[in-house]
């Protein structure tokens, strides 16, 4: 059968039909198929529940198609990441909104018999907090306090179902941009929205797009940076896995604005599922006629390719990324010229990250005014954060820009694991800095973070509790950066090596005060003189820990003993059989921790004792020992 050419009318008719089908969907069983839940066995749960339903004669279907059993069947979906990874595997039943957590294959039978067939809620599978169990996901504090725009579809829709994306107003923005807007108009709308790059630096998108648009006519490229390498960050992965069409749509709009006909998505090799989902999405969009030549008869053409990374963190940097797409070593080059003038294969290139593109369809569809109403004045919209580390609810969240750390960590994140005390949060990965208790009420946006020496970066938030040694953390980040330094420029290649040596020395309690001064001056040089962002930001964790946690460096350097790394010092006790009760230790104790009658054995109050050893060195009888 010859394929019918896609036209605007046909797309609209399809959307109408898809919407009707979606509205007729009476019940849905959603199983999270993000990397996290799959690792927990969610696909087996999906198979088990679906098979049981079929065995019991229930009609099921797996996509939004008429021929697929009609509207009153149970719609089974493998969805993108729900974000609540700590509670996975997750299974949700719509439209009731019942969310089951930590589901096992053995629970399948009960879920089918009680919940799906009788509509009962199984209490033991619900999320509980402080003795209260929550039947609906929308009531759980973790979700209730979020504002999920970019991640809205993740968790509710089948990432591989293009029809469902279209039913949920997918490609409406592209259609609007294609038929109703000029290239200049698109750039202006994006500029007015105040959208800033979600990949790190926070550059205004509209300006970037407009610069490419103004370049002389000719070959131009649109590139998506999905090389999310920051350890502790996985929002881009979740968008690629859970809502791949939003990225394609964003890139199509960028191509219209910039005058490009070819694009690339560069995905980390460690994200095989994201590559699969994107590939499927591109195939389906091509088949329908949303990608390819002469799209909907307008003369606009756009071809999209996927490139897999090969494990080089530095390829997250723009010029290194384009070099890697060209099949070369991924090393950054001197700028200017900027990527907007001289990008992929020397041509003007729009390069944005995944989350940035995913915001674009929302802005075009709902307008810049709407987008500006969210977030703060200078940082509009929302930001997705990956909340990890020593926090109760690890997972993926999305909040308006300007939300405070306290709200994120304590209200959404549920506080610190095991009832410990909050110490710091590393924001922005190895290029970022740490924020401490004093910053808990600071609004998180591009500018306020910059003012305290941190960056939003791609949005990793790694929470650290009171037991974490910040010097060791700084050493950890330095070892990461040193390992990932591409070796092109001397300050980064040699500098990070020396920094790591010094930090390792300090962690091993072999450092000196001179080392601290050396760290500071080296940091300044490396930040100033490195070629690309990797080197320029490499020392941020050291600079910020030196600023906020200098006492921990001093513990390593001066005391040669870090309570976090080396454990508590041993207890000092007085052996009553050797003590003659002379009182010398009592008089020498700076903490007045020793008590006892003269000529009677003395005792040490371990609560007050700071293990300084003054008693030990003054005891004439050797009665004080470590225990």
């Amino acid at each position: 059968m010859p394929k019918r050419k896609l036209t605007r009318e046909r797309l609209n008719a399809m959307r109408l039909e898809a919407k009707t089908l979606l509205a007729a969907n009476t019940r849905e069983v959603l199983v999270c198929a993000g990397t996290g839940c799959i690792a927990g066995g969610s696909l087996n749960i999906y198979d088990a529940v679906k098979k049981l339903c079929e065995d019991k004669g229930l009609k099921t279907r797996v996509s939004l198609k008429q021929e697929d059993n009609g509207g009153n069947a149970l719609h089974f979906k493998k969805t993108g990441c729900h974000g609540f990874c700590e509670m996975g595997p997750l299974l949700q039943i719509e439209p009731d909104g019942i969310l089951y957590t930590h589901v096992k294959v053995e629970d399948a039978e009960e879920i089918v018999e009680r919940t799906i067939m009788k509509g009962e809620v199984i209490d033991r599978l619900l999320y509980t907090l402080d003795g209260k169990s929550y039947a609906k996901d929308s009531e759980i504090p973790f979700y209730k306090l979020q504002k999920r725009l970019v991640l809205e579809n993740c968790g509710y829709t089948d990432a591989e179902d293009l029809t469902e994306y279209i039913a949920r107003d997918g490609y409406v923005a592209f259609e609007k941009a294609l038929f109703e807007m000029t290239d200049e108009g698109i750039c202006k709308e994006i500029l007015d929205s105040g959208l800033r790059g979600r990949g790190g630096a926070g550059f205004p998108m509209g300006r970037k797009w407009d610069s490419v648009r103004k370049q002389p006519k000719g070959k131009k490229y649109v590139v998506c940076n999905g090389d999310e390498g920051d350890p502790g960050a996985f929002m881009d992965r979740s968008i690629m896995e859970g809502n791949p069409h939003s990225i394609i749509e964003g890139m199509l709009i960028a191509a219209l604005a910039a005058g490009s006909d070819e694009g690339y998505i560069y995905v980390r090799a460690e994200y095989p599922l994201a590559v699969d989902r994107l590939r499927t999405a591109i195939d389906k969009a091509e088949k329908l006629g949303l990608l390819g030549d002469n799209i909907m008869g307008t003369g606009f053409s756009f071809h999209l390719h996927i490139n897999r990374g090969a494990g080089a963190f530095v390829c997250g940097e723009g010029s290194a990324l384009t070099a890697s797409i060209e099949g070369k070593r991924g090393m950054p080059r001197v700028k200017p010229p900027r990527t907007v003038e001289h990008g992929l294969w020397g041509q003007p290139t729009v390069l944005n990250n995944v989350e940035t593109y995913a915001n674009v369809p929302l802005i075009i569809r709902k307008g810049s005014e709407w987008f500006r109403s969210i977030g703060t004045e200078k940082s509009s919209g929302t930001k997705a954060f990956a909340l990890t580390g020593n926090v109760v609810n690890t997972g993926l969240i999305e909040v308006p820009m300007g939300t405070t750390l306290r709200e994120i960590i304590f209200d959404i994140g549920g506080g610190i694991k095991d009832g410990k005390k909050f110490k710091a949060v590393q924001i922005g990965g190895p290029a970022g800095g740490c924020l401490t208790e004093e910053h808990l009420d600071m609004p998180l946006d591009f500018d306020s973070l910059k003012s305290v020496g941190a960056i939003i970066g791609s949005g990793g938030l790694v929470v650290m509790d009171e037991d974490t040694c910040m010097v060791e953390t700084a050493r950890f980040f330095m070892s990461f950066t040193q390992n990932e330094s591409c070796g092109k420029c001397v300050p980064c290649r040699e500098g990070t090596k020396r920094m790591l040596e010094i930090l390792t020395r300090i962690v091993n309690n072999e450092g000196t005060m001179d080392d601290l001064a050396l760290l500071e001056s080296l940091s300044a040089t490396i930040s100033e003189a490195s070629l690309c962002g990797l080197g320029q930001a490499a020392c941020n964790p050291v600079i910020s820990t030196l600023k906020y946690f200098r006492d921990e460096y001093l513990a390593h350097v001066v005391d040669k003993h870090c309570p976090h790394c080396n454990g508590r010092k041993v207890q000092l006790v007085i052996d009553p059989s050797l003590c003659r009760g002379c009182g010398k230790c009592r008089k020498n104790c700076p903490m007045e921790a020793i008590s006892g009658e003269i000529r009677q054995p003395h005792t040490i109050d371990t609560e007050k004792c700071i293990k300084c050893g003054a008693c030990w060195s003054n005891c004439p009888f050797g009665a004080i020992r470590e225990e």
Partner: protein, 165 residues
């Protein structure tokens, strides 16, 4: 599989990309996917077919962490050492496995060629930390004990297969 068969397959892979030079990374990824490492012969053939120097191919192969120029074990074990896993104690897992496999110095593959132990910078499965993967299958919330147990199971399975054969 003989060396000639391997080289024939390599040739097919390069051809499938139309001998385009910019596809070098994708070509090497496909080769490694099938043979788990890049042999000298394979790299020379790739260079030859693409019409670039062997040095250029070698420079790209050594730049990226994912390429290996050495043969690997049957099971590739990767322990995540990303930040989230690190703060939830992934290092002891790596150390424990190294000791269990008897690896010393720069050695990464166990002497029976069964396991290759590597680290990975972040799998993006931070919610399940600490994680490790065995041939790309993700295993969540590991401890040094459970990691060793997993490897022992695999070893027992291999032993059983071997006995059957």
């Amino acid at each position: 599989m003989g060396k000639q068969d391997v080289l024939k397959r390599v040739e097919e892979i390069v051809d499938s990309y139309g001998c385009r030079r910019e596809a070098l990374i994708a070509i090497m990824q496909d080769i490694q996917n099938e043979y788990k490492y890049l042999s000298t012969e394979a790299l020379e053939l790739v260079a030859n077919k693409l019409g670039v120097g062997v040095a250029k191919v070698y420079s790209v192969a050594t730049f990226y962490e994912n390429f290996s120029l050495e043969a690997k074990g049957k099971y590739i074990v990767k322990v995540c050492c990303g930040t989230a896993c690190h703060v939830r104690k992934s290092q002891p897992i790596y150390d424990g496995l190294r000791e269990y496999l008897g690896l010393t110095g720069k050695q990464k593959t166990s002497s029976d060629a069964m396991f290759t132990l590597e680290t990975v910078a972040c799998l993006g499965a931070c919610g399940l930390s600490p994680v490790m993967t065995v041939n790309d299958e993700v295993h969540p919330k590991m401890t040094p004990e459970s990691a060793i147990e997993l490897l022992e199971e695999l070893r027992a399975k291999e032993g059983a297969n071997h006995a059957e054969a």
